[in-house]
Symmetry: C2
Subunit: 396 residues, 2 copies
Amino acid sequence: MRDVAIIGAGMIPFGRRDEDSLMDMLAYASLKALDDAGLGDKSVDAVYVANMGAGILQHQTSIASSLVDRLSLLPAAADVVENGPASGASAIKNGLLAVASGYYDYVLVVGGEKMREVTGWRATDFVATMTHPQAEYPYGITLPGMAGMFTRLYMEKYGVTREHLLAVTLKNQAMGALNPYAHVEMTLDREGIFDSPHAVVNNPVAADPLHLYDLCPVSDGAAAVVLCPLELAKKHAKAPVLIAGFGQATDTHTLQERGDPTDLKAVTLAAQQAFEMAKMKPADIDVAELHDAFTILEIAESEHVGFFKKGEGGKAAAAGKTRLGGQLPINMSGGLKARGHPVGATGVAQVVDIVYQLRHELPENRQVKNAKTGFTINFGGFGNNVVSFVLKRVEP
Amino acid sequence: MRDVAIIGAGMIPFGRRDEDSLMDMLAYASLKALDDAGLGDKSVDAVYVANMGAGILQHQTSIASSLVDRLSLLPAAADVVENGPASGASAIKNGLLAVASGYYDYVLVVGGEKMREVTGWRATDFVATMTHPQAEYPYGITLPGMAGMFTRLYMEKYGVTREHLLAVTLKNQAMGALNPYAHVEMTLDREGIFDSPHAVVNNPVAADPLHLYDLCPVSDGAAAVVLCPLELAKKHAKAPVLIAGFGQATDTHTLQERGDPTDLKAVTLAAQQAFEMAKMKPADIDVAELHDAFTILEIAESEHVGFFKKGEGGKAAAAGKTRLGGQLPINMSGGLKARGHPVGATGVAQVVDIVYQLRHELPENRQVKNAKTGFTINFGGFGNNVVSFVLKRVEP
């Protein structure tokens, strides 16, 4: 297996992008990554497009074939990879293994989603298409609904409090406000959404015990990376980032079938695989992007992957250990919570953010000093298909 | 790159399967392939699901995550791969490269589609979601419409006649009638659909100059293969089939942008890549499955991949050179024309049929005697994303 590096990364500002088609967004992010890679007129051998909903939201299929033409990358091979909200990381995985195999040298991976194509309940319904078609979807359960029940169980079992969740909200919202690519640009204060009598209006219950600002927004967006063998990567301009480890694991489709529904086995396994391949352990990681579609997930994942002991993740967040300058900064991009969560784009955007961290390119108020190693969790379904990466700076 | 072999293959009868859900079909085909591979209780490391339309037709996403649970293959990694009607071959490609890389040992690839979920114009509209969203779809062009225009040009340029097309129809329909997995079980005779005055009723114009029986049906179905390194394959019961070559190439999304719209560049390129990797040439092939969604495509592809010279494919079909016992038997399964074309399943079904041929398991009336090498073309869009394989029998 050849070592594979990321030599280019790019993304477009997430948010509401009514003026852009899905194809526009995929093309913009791709061009930024190709440009960042300094490939110039050189083409790529293959393109992987991560997308969950073009069929439902845009009534389109075969978007990889369309994109490769739009980008003038013909006759490069092109496929779409779908794994719900973990489509982005799954697409990177397939690009990684294709390059690792020796068959392709240069691969573009781009993830995108235009979720604001539909509004109101249709957006929630679109996301719910990932639930079990017989055991869940017909009964009206939504992803926020599942997250609410999961949070209640987690609170009862591990003593997580709303105070802990609030710490995640405030941190990620503050970081998002500093990130030009983030969807939600406003900062929030504790007073307005928690302490004051107006909090009940400003931050209403969404799926008890989760409130509005415990949930990520519905976003449009796209992000891209360019992969090649580490050996070739050294020829390119910027510092390459090695994909040192990768893991992917599945769990039961429905939460109700899990012996302990608070146990996110696929998260634990995917992370273990990634650490094992990288020959590293959680304590070796300098910065992480976790899949905080709901604030509880950042806390639960930080425990399941081994950054904190079970029951300690919430306390760690409240104590500032996951802030910039803390023991392990998490979601310095603002996370899904503030950067936004265009489902097909998210897994790629997480890796793009870590690449920026490991290249030391971010402004001081977001850059983890001298970061050398990064970690991601991209969470498909409600933890039924999870993909993890360990990334490593390669010193020039 | 490790050599990769197919150690198991299975499919379910294509056709109208109102009683089965998409997930049922994917599961049945998978179980047949796993059983055929003799894996017993051993699980697989990863699952690739080829599917084009679950979002549009079943309002479902994340079906790979669901399938891996349904099959009790947890915690195997699982992704969906989509490349329009070439999704099946694209999924096999990704399984191939994943095993070739050394990361996974055992991979299940299953393709399926439940197209009869919708009826009438909705089925044609679903297929048309692969056309260009700005330059084609809004103007009402359909895939049969494109095929009609392509046929007219091909007839004018290369002298293909309706007699040539008829030869493909009759051959594939006759072979389909012998294939228990085929959708269309009836044989047709020349008199009824061509010569008699009733032909105009029995076989009406569908997209001039193509008639009804020049087009494949709209089918439900699923097919699966199990891959592993050739080295491990030798331990398993049946004769392994080596994936000796693979190629994939793209072309402009719209036909109108091609300098010569009769030139299927992506077909030529994908085949060249596959032959090059296999260190073989077209004359080395014993049996082929080509993508005859329309009869003209079998003829055009047989020329573009190098089995016959340009302008000779139609004559070769009419002269019986592509029949069983002929110079190069094509579509001994009945092809898309008679086996059916559940889009996500087709590319996998083609490979399954070649595996049966190379294992010498078919009844005498379909088996190419002593077949040692096989070839496939899976045609995405209207030739905008094409995948090809060269397969080789490994003597025990």
